[in-house]
Symmetry: C2
Subunit: 295 residues, 2 copies
């Protein structure tokens, strides 16, 4: 399949939907809404929403039912980036080549724009006439749990507390950071797409294994890219993890072992999809792409 064309088409679908659901940049308070939109439309690759829609497809679900949740997931991802970049956190001035939210709108508005995006996600997930309430409650539980103190935020805290002391981080801690900080949202994206697509328990379990494997593969590939990629390809400083004293897979187990582990995880992901038909092709292509990408 033509993955590039598929990703482009799905990104457009998500972008259009986000355009429609976010308050206009002119709606009061305009600074807040402009700031929210600035980061949502800052060139994200829409990995999580695309995965959600692909999981919905894979179980033969109706795409429309998963679109609001896909937008919600991208809002949560975006809020986490805005807060991560703050001076009190990673203190980043640039993201994807553009000034970070607080550099443009100031720190206070950036904090509040993040808060509002997180909240907006749940507004979207609970809209009237959004389909079967029981499935949606399940999806809200799934997404909120993945985003909270036992999910993404928990991973962010451990990552932060580990910074500057990479020699003290073992593989268990690094794995905690990866599965929580990034893995949890990827897992929730796939599971939410499957639930909204009407997956039975068996298919949901298979897709969960797929998601856990690619989530970790994605993060290891990111670590590898940070070592091997060029600044131009990445849109951020290559080698920034090392400079920042972050523990990484390559630093812990070596570059070659990291590449082998990423490939192994991708193979596990593909295996988890063995019982699925051609409607799972996009999920398969995405898994393979993870270890091949350059940025």
């Amino acid at each position: 399949m033509d993955l590039k064309a598929y990703l482009t088409q799905r990104c457009q679908l998500v972008d259009q939907a986000l355009e429609g659901v976010l308050p206009a940049a002119t709606e009061l308070p305009a600074s807040l809404h402009a700031s929210m939109r600035y980061s949502v439309f800052a060139g994200g690759k829409r990995v999580r929403p695309v995965l959600m829609l692909a999981a919905c497809d894979a179980v033969g679900g109706e795409l429309e039912k998963a679109i609001p949740a896909a937008c919600a997931m991208e809002m949560i991802h975006t809020y986490s980036l805005i807060h991560d970049d703050l001076p009190a956190m990673d203190d980043d001035d640039f993201r994807r080549g553009n000034p970070t939210n607080h550099k443009v709108y100031g720190e206070a508005t950036a904090i509040l724009a993040g808060d509002a995006l997180l909240t907006e996600a749940f507004i979207l997930l609970s809209k009237e006439d959004g389909g079967d309430p029981a499935a949606r409650i399940k999806v809200i539980q799934e997404i909120a749990t993945a985003s909270g103190s036992r999910g993404m935020v928990g991973g962010q805290v451990v990552d932060m507390e580990s910074e500057g002391k990479p020699e003290q981080i073992d593989i268990a801690t690094l794995s905690y950071i990866h599965t929580h900080k990034t893995g949890a949202l990827i897992r929730a994206s796939v599971r939410a797409g499957a639930i909204l697509g009407g997956a039975d328990e068996e298919r949901l379990a298979s897709l969960t294994r797929y998601a856990e494997a690619i989530g970790l593969a994605f993060q290891i590939a990111d670590d590898i890219l940070d070592v091997e990629g060029t600044t131009e390809e990445l849109g951020k400083d290559a080698g920034s993890d090392e400079a920042r004293g972050k523990a990484t897979y390559p630093a812990l187990v070596g570059l070659e072992a990291s590449k082998a582990r990423a490939q192994e995880l991708v193979d596990m992901a593909l295996e988890a999809l063995a019982g699925f038909d051609e409607r799972a092709e996009p999920l398969r292509a995405i898994a393979s792409y993870i270890v091949k990408r350059k940025s």
Copy 2:
């Protein structure tokens, strides 16, 4: 009725429930969970959860059904206080006589504790076996909308942008700040309690009028207290609004007119409850208390 005894009993109920639903302070990441608990148990008066439970009572609902939502509302209120106090926002070192969250746990953890509390609220609202999914989706919509860019966060932004230029703030702007920054959550608390208690449309409409009136009365009374109260009674600096260049009701319309307006709103709130029986007594007593309290 004995309002003090009622409030004490209801606060205990909410505190016990919060104790049970928040992750233990020893659960990893421990700094995050300790930080979340620090602010949740920092002596809040539980105004919003108490209102939610009282609204549920007023329509003859089962209290147990509203307890998780009551806890969720207190978590959202608490997150908003943590973020409000941050150096980039109000830069407050003390709240209710105790050091603010970021003074104890640092700015990064305070930001993330706020994020996690907001998220935890939605985890709680979507727990398995929490009752009728349709009513809960409605309540999530209600609470999320009240908390977001068109509710509390929007009010916070306008409040922030108005600071230091009280001469430019007219009554319409001040009213926007009040109805959004504090009014929205109070309204959502009462409405959520009514919905979870099984209110029909007419009772829901009456309780909404009640909530809007007391929400504004509460804020005007707060402004009056800031002028008239002593620092000891308030647990924060009296006169801090003026010192900070915040527009207030007394500054805009005078102290006497403010008191008259607060009383008028309380009367409107009581009128809205005219069709309710003795089960609405707590709501009536709370309305009257608003203009009488000293802190």
